[in-house]
């Protein structure tokens, strides 16, 4: 019984993680940037969502407005800051996004992020769903469904739209993509924007579960990093599988050994995995 309940909770965590890591994978695929500021954007989304709901905006609207706002901030960040180091060595992009993480965290602290803010679960989604003796809060089911739906929508969009075609082309070979006339600057602006919006969307959606404060995104960022490494850096389907693997490992670890040890367990699993399969589940991750 406990195991089944843990499986369900693992799937919930995995879904949130999936939505969050997709942005990380996307920005890595096109820009070859490991975005350390992704967790700060998660926190920004969560805090914006809580603030909107607290000032009377319905939850459903906040779920759209906060990601769009953070997405626009993402575009602004790319245009103003990330664009400055496009052709610099890889080290600079790592340092830059790390600095951005500090900067955004600092700003969030000043905007009231020092205190933990609670986001009430919207009334429609309150209550508990019981299934054969196992009960799961309705809201968790909603979050999983939402995350899975958004993920599928994004993948379909990547497969079927002009924008998706450009993203995939730039992902496979940025230089060749530029040669056949893909405007790398504009594409990158949009990719960073979408990636930031996805981080914020998972932040708002998870706020009733994880609460909201300036560093709420720290832990999920580490989990997402584990996810993209397990799945292979830049591999989309790898990230999908890995997100659920990480979610399950973490929830089972928490269930049987307690919260902090679970993180250690995950780290050991990832390290063990790297010895033999440094390119992730599908062997298509980049190593550079």
């Amino acid at each position: 019984m406990l195991a089944l309940s843990l499986v369900l909770n693992g799937i919930v965590l995995g879904s949130v993680l999936l939505l969050f890591s997709l942005g990380l994978t996307l920005i890595y695929g096109v820009g070859r940037i490991v975005n350390f500021a992704h967790g700060a954007l998660f926190s920004a989304g969560a805090m914006a969502g809580v603030w909107l709901v607290a000032s009377g905006v319905p939850f459903g609207v906040a779920l759209v407005v906060a990601p769009v706002a953070v997405g626009l901030i993402g575009v602004l960040i790319d245009w103003a800051i990330l664009a400055r180091i496009r052709d610099r060595p890889m080290v600079d992009s790592l340092l830059l996004t790390f600095g951005l993480a500090l900067l955004i965290t600092g700003i969030l602290y000043e905007l009231g992020g020092r205190n933990v803010q609670i986001m009430p679960v919207p009334q429609v989604l309150g209550g508990v769903i019981s299934l054969g003796g196992i009960s799961l809060p309705t809201y968790r089911v909603f979050v999983s469904v939402l995350a899975i739906a958004l993920t599928i929508a994004l993948i379909l969009f990547l497969k079927n739209s002009k924008w998706g075609l450009r993203v995939r082309a730039a992902n496979d070979d940025p230089e060749m993509g530029a040669c056949i006339g893909i405007d790398r600057e504009r594409l990158m602006h949009s990719v960073v924007g979408v990636s930031a919006a996805l981080a914020a969307a998972s932040g708002v959606a998870a706020a009733p579960i994880f609460t909201a404060h300036a560093v709420v995104g720290d832990k999920i960022l580490i989990l997402a990093f584990m996810t993209v490494i397990l799945g292979g850096l830049g591999s989309l389907r790898g990230a999908v599988v890995a997100a659920y693997a990480v979610g399950l490992i973490l929830v089972f670890g928490e269930g049987y050994f307690g919260g902090q040890l679970a993180l250690m367990l995950l780290f050991i699993v990832v390290m063990a995995m790297l010895i033999n399969w440094p390119r992730g589940f599908f062997g298509e991750g980049r190593t550079e």
């Binding site: 490991v34 350390f36 800051i81 400055r84 180091i85 610099r88 890889m90 080290v91 600079d92 790592l94 340092l95 830059l96 790390f98 600095g99 951005l100 993480a101 500090l102 900067l103 955004i104 965290t105 600092g106 700003i107 602290y109 000043e110 720290d218 832990k219 580490i222 990093f225 584990m226 993209v228 490494i229 850096l233 307690g258 902090q260 040890l261 993180l263 250690m264 780290f267 990832v270 390290m271 790297l274 010895i275 440094p278 190593t287 550079e288």
Partner: protein, 333 residues
């Protein structure tokens, strides 16, 4: 050709000696300048610890190009191990240093053996994860580490029975440790080991092709770097008498990285100066605003964009250019 390299090397190592002498002289003058202001000496002591920590990260990043985003892991590791040992085994600083270093070498060797096989980005991500794990460990064993409250009540350090009490003595120990570490770093830089590291930093594939054991060399660099960071942690905990999990937080890793980036990666003196400048600046900025993280982050971003070589890196480039002219002039005479 050989002659020029030799003279070049002599010029550079002379530059290193001059740098060492300047730091030693400045460091020695400070206690006299700060007479009657015990707080200033305390601040300077903290700056020295930061400088050792910065140097430790530069031993890794500056030498092999591996970028660690979780260097606080080893700083905190050293602090907690030394703190726990001094409470349970002995408060003799020599014993503590030996035991802590042994523990660090053991653990960093095991972790590093897997880490250094990863390239660039994966390495960076895993180091950040490692520091989070160390952070989490403090809470797992909160009954012995004190958890959120930190490790308290660490006995005063002794040296062969004599207690190390006065702030001035501590300051001297810290300054001595920094100078020793600097001398060691400078020596290695010009020794075959340091040359091999630089080859890996510039092009690790070529280094492998000419027959270097790249993984082993990286591991050595990682272990030395971790040991020095853990030594900084040890000095911190004994000097401070207590430690908190904040030491392991990623903000702390960010600070160390900032020291190195501010000073200039791989310049040895740069990160040390960066650490001192930054520690002083942090103290004065945080005394009139608590939003210092914003300034800190903005400065970080700005330096990476505008001056990727760091402040000292820029100055060092000019100095190299100037000193590069000298041998030519001498040859002409």
């Amino acid at each position: 050709m050989i002659a020029t390299t030799l003279s070049e090397r002599r010029v550079r190592s002379r530059g290193g000696l001059v740098g060492l002498a300047v730091i030693a002289a400045t460091g020695l003058c400070l206690p006299f300048a700060s007479a009657g202001q015990p707080f200033l000496l305390m601040l300077a002591s903290h700056a020295l610890i930061a400088a050792i920590l910065a140097l430790s990260l530069d031993m890794l990043t500056g030498n092999t190009g591996l970028l660690s985003f979780g260097h606080a892991a080893w700083y905190g590791f050293g602090a907690y191990v030394a703190g726990l040992l001094s409470k349970s085994v002995s408060s003799d600083i020599a014993v503590l240093i030996l035991l802590t270093l042994a523990a660090t070498l053991l653990v960093s060797g095991a972790v590093g053996a897997i880490l250094v096989r990863q390239v660039g980005k994966t390495f960076a991500i895993l180091t950040l994860a490692l520091s989070q794990i160390m952070f989490a460990l403090v809470f797992v064993f909160s009954d012995i580490t004190g958890g959120e409250d930190g490790l308290q009540g660490i006995p005063m350090a002794t040296f062969f029975g004599a207690q190390i009490v006065s702030p001035a003595t501590w300051y001297a120990i810290l300054l001595g440790a920094l100078l020793l570490a600097l001398a060691g770093a400078l020596h290695i830089r010009h020794a075959p080991l340091g040359r091999a590291w630089l080859a890996i930093r510039e092009n690790s594939e070529r280094a492998r092709f000419i027959g270097m054991n790249v993984t082993l060399l990286k591991l050595i660099s990682y272990m030395i770097s971790a040991s020095l960071a853990s030594l900084a942690g040890l000095l911190f905990v004994l000097f401070n008498g207590a430690t908190s999990p904040d030491l392991l937080h990623w903000l702390e890793s960010g600070k160390v990285l900032m020291y190195v980036v501010l000073g200039g990666v791989g310049t040895i003196f740069g990160p040390v100066i960066g650490a001192v400048v930054f520690t002083l600046a942090e103290h004065y900025v945080s005394s009139f605003t608590d939003a210092w993280l914003i300034y800190f982050g903005a400065l970080f971003v700005l330096i990476v964009i505008v001056a990727p070589g760091g402040l000292f890196g820029g100055a060092a480039r000019i100095a190299t250019r100037l000193s590069a002219r000298k041998p030519g002039r001498r040859a002409a005479q």
